[in-house]
Symmetry: C2
Subunit: 332 residues, 2 copies
DNA sequence: TTGTAGGCGTTATCAT
DNA sequence: ATGATAACGCCTACAA
C-alpha cells in the first residue's frame, strides 16, 4: 500500500523557512555552487536533512536546461551482449556526474522512435543508441541527433553523420578467416556462414567481409538470437550436412547452433566446428567452450565517455573502431 | 504577450505564434484535454509539425507533478534472469501510458540508493525494485517507498510494509524436493545444495526451504553468478566428490557448475545431476539442457501493472506469490 | 555574504 | 470555445 509521502512536497522554501534563510542560500548551500560560511551551510544542510528534503531534478532541469542524464536505447534485453554493453556504459558513467537510463526498443522501429522521443522529451544531455536496424532505425537516429549529442554504439545506420563507436567487424572476421585457413581442413569441414541478418550494420559487415575473403560452401542469414542459431543448425542437418565449420555472426547464434547439434548427437569440434562473435560471458561456459571474437567493451565505453564529455570540442574522434581479439577455445 | 523562444527548442509559444492562437489553445489541441473545433485543432497540429515541435516533458512534469514514468532498478545486467525481467516489464508497459526506464545498482548498496534517488528526483510515478540484498537494501527501499508507490520484484527486504511480487520460492524448492525423492537414487547421488547466498531473499528462501525438507549431504553458499557455480563445482571435485545431485539456487549457478563439471570430464546426468531455478532462456540451450524451475514472468509483470495502476485503491493484493513450474530436462 | 525576483515550458484555472 | 495568467521547483543574475 502506498505510503503517505514524507519527503514529497518539501521544497527549497520549506528548507529556507526551517533554517531561517532565503531560498537562494539553500540552493547554494546544497549545490555548493558559491562559497559561504561553513556554519550557515551546515545549518542549511541539517534543516534539509531534518525535513527530508530531496532536490526536485525536474525543477532543476527546467531551469538549467540540462539533466545530467544520458539515455541508452538498446534493441532488447535478451541478447546478453547488449546487456553487457548496458552494464559497461552504466559502470563507466557511475562515478561521473551523469546517470545512465536504459530503455528497450524491443526490436521494433516504432518502439525505438518512442524511446528516443521519450528520452528527448526528458531532455537527456546525450543519447547512446544501439540501432535496431540499418535502415528502419534511420528515423530514430535522425530525430535523436537533431536535438542532442548522439553516439551510435555497436551498430550504425549508414549515411548519417553521427559518430559511431564499435568494433572493427571486418578485422574480426579476418581473424576468423585466417584462423580457419591455417588450422582447419576445409575439405573435410567445409565452411558455412550463419549470419545474423544483413539488416543491422554488424550483421552486414560481418557477413559481407567474411564472404569476400573466404570460400563458403553455404550461407544462411537470420537474426541475432539463440532461436535462429538452433533453426539454422536444424536446417543444415535436415539437408544432410554431416561435417562443417560453422562461422556464426554472433555468440548467441553459435550457442543456439551448438545446442541443436549436440542434441542431435553430433560432436563438436570433430564433426562441426563452431565459431562465434562478441565474447559474451556464457561463451566461456558453453560446452564445449566457444571459440569467438572478443570485443573490447571497456575500451569502447571509455571512448563513448570521452566523446560525450568532450562535447563540442573536436578533441575526440567522431568514429572509432576497436580491434577485437580471437579467443581460441574448444568449439572450433 | 508572446514570449521569445530560445533558439534551442521550439516551444508552445512558437507554435502559438505560427498558428495565430494562444498557448492555451496549443496545449489543448496537442493534448486533447479539452474539446475544440476540429478545424482549429488541425491548424495547430500542422503548425506544430511544421516547426518540429516536441513537447518538453520536463516542463509538463513540473506542472503536472507526474511524469508517466516508472523506474526499474535491477542489481545488474549480467544475470540473464534480471534481463528477462526487465524485458518483461518493458513490454508490459509498452502500450500503456508509462515509459519504463531501467537503472543498474551494480550490486552495490550505495549505487542502489543513488539509483533510487535519481529516479525519485526525476519524479517517477512509481518504482519497481529488485533489491540487491535482504539487509543492505533496506535503506534504498525505504527511501523509495516513502516518496512513491513502490513494488518489490523477485526479491524483497523483510520487515518492510512494501508490496512484493515474485515467485513462490518455497513451492519451487518443494517441486525439486519431490522430484528428487521420486526419481533419483539418493544413495548413489547424494544431494548437494549450491545456494546463491542467503543475503538476498530469494537465496535465503530457496536454501532454507530446501534444507528443511530434504536430506542434504553438503551445502555451499555463494552468489547468483556463473562464476560461483564454477567455483562451487570445482571445490566439490577437489574434495573428491564423484557423484551427486546438485541443486542450485539459480540457473546461472547451475550453468556455471555444469560448465566446470563437463570440462573436468564428468558426465551429466549419469555422474552429476544438476537442477537450476528461474528458467532463463539459455537453460534450454545448455547441453545437457537444464532441468529447472520456471518462473511465470508474464503473470508477475501483469500483477505489477495491476498493482501500480490500481494505486491507492486496495483492489490489488499487496503481496503476491506465483507458483513456478518444474521443467524436467536432461541435466537432472 | 545573503536576499530578491524572474523565468525555464507546460498545464490548469480563471475569465471572456 | 478561446485567451490571459498563475503556478510547478529550481537556479542565478542582479541588488543590497
Amino acid at each position: 500500500m502506498p505510503k503517505k509521502s514524507t519527503s514529497q512536497g518539501v521544497t527549497v522554501f520549506d528548507v529556507a523557512e526551517h533554517a531561517g534563510v532565503s531560498i537562494a542560500t539553500v540552493s547554494r548551500a546544497l549545490s555548493g555552487s558559491r562559497p559561504m560560511s561553513d556554519e550557515l551551510r551546515e545549518k542549511v544542510k541539517q534543516s534539509a536533512a531534518a525535513l527530508g528534503y530531496q532536490v526536485n531534478l525536474v525543477g532543476r532541469a527546467l531551469r538549467q536546461k540540462k539533466t545530467s542524464t544520458i539515455g541508452l536505447v538498446i534493441p532488447d534485453f535478451e541478447n546478453p551482449f547488449f546487456s553487457s554493453l548496458a552494464q559497461g556504459i552504466s559502470r563507466r558513467f557511475a562515478r561521473s556526474e551523469a546517470d545512465v537510463l536504459v530503455a528497450s526498443a524491443d526490436n521494433d522501429a516504432e518502439a525505438e522512435v518512442r524511446a528516443v522521443q521519450s528520452f528527448l522529451g526528458r531532455q537527456v544531455d546525450a543519447l547512446v543508441m544501439i540501432p535496431n536496424d540499418e535502415s528502419t532505425s534511420a528515423k530514430a537516429m535522425k530525430i535523436a541527433s537533431d536535438s542532442v549529442p548522439t553516439v551510435q554504439f555497436d551498430r550504425f545506420v549508414p549515411g548519417l553523420d553521427i559518430p559511431f563507436i564499435g568494433c572493427d567487424n571486418k578485422a574480426g572476421m579476418d581473424l576468423i578467416s585466417d584462423y580457419i585457413t591455417r588450422s582447419i581442413d576445409i575439405d573435410s569441414q567445409p565452411v558455412i556462414l550463419i549470419g545474423g541478418g544483413k539488416s543491422s550494420s554488424s550483421g552486414h559487415e560481418r557477413s559481407s567481409r567474411f564472404l569476400s575473403r573466404t570460400n563458403v560452401t553455404r550461407h544462411l542469414e537470420g537474426s541475432f538470437s539463440f532461436e535462429w542459431g538452433q533453426q539454422a543448425a536444424k536446417s543444415l542437418l535436415d539437408d544432410g550436412v554431416k561435417r562443417a565449420t560453422l562461422v556464426c555472426g554472433a555468440d548467441v547464434i553459435a550457442i543456439g547452433a551448438i545446442s541443436w547439434l549436440l542434441s542431435q548427437g553430433h560432436s563438436i569440434p570433430s564433426d562441426f566446428r563452431v565459431i562465434g562473435f562478441d565474447g559474451v560471458g556464457v561463451s566461456q561456459l558453453a560446452h564445449p567452450t566457444l571459440t569467438t571474437v572478443l570485443q573490447p567493451v571497456e575500451e569502447m565505453t571509455e571512448a563513448i565517455e570521452k566523446l560525450l564529455s568532450s562535447d563540442g570540442g573536436h578533441s575526440a574522434q567522431a568514429t572509432q573502431r576497436f580491434r577485437p581479439e580471437l579467443v581460441e577455445r574448444e568449439s572450433g
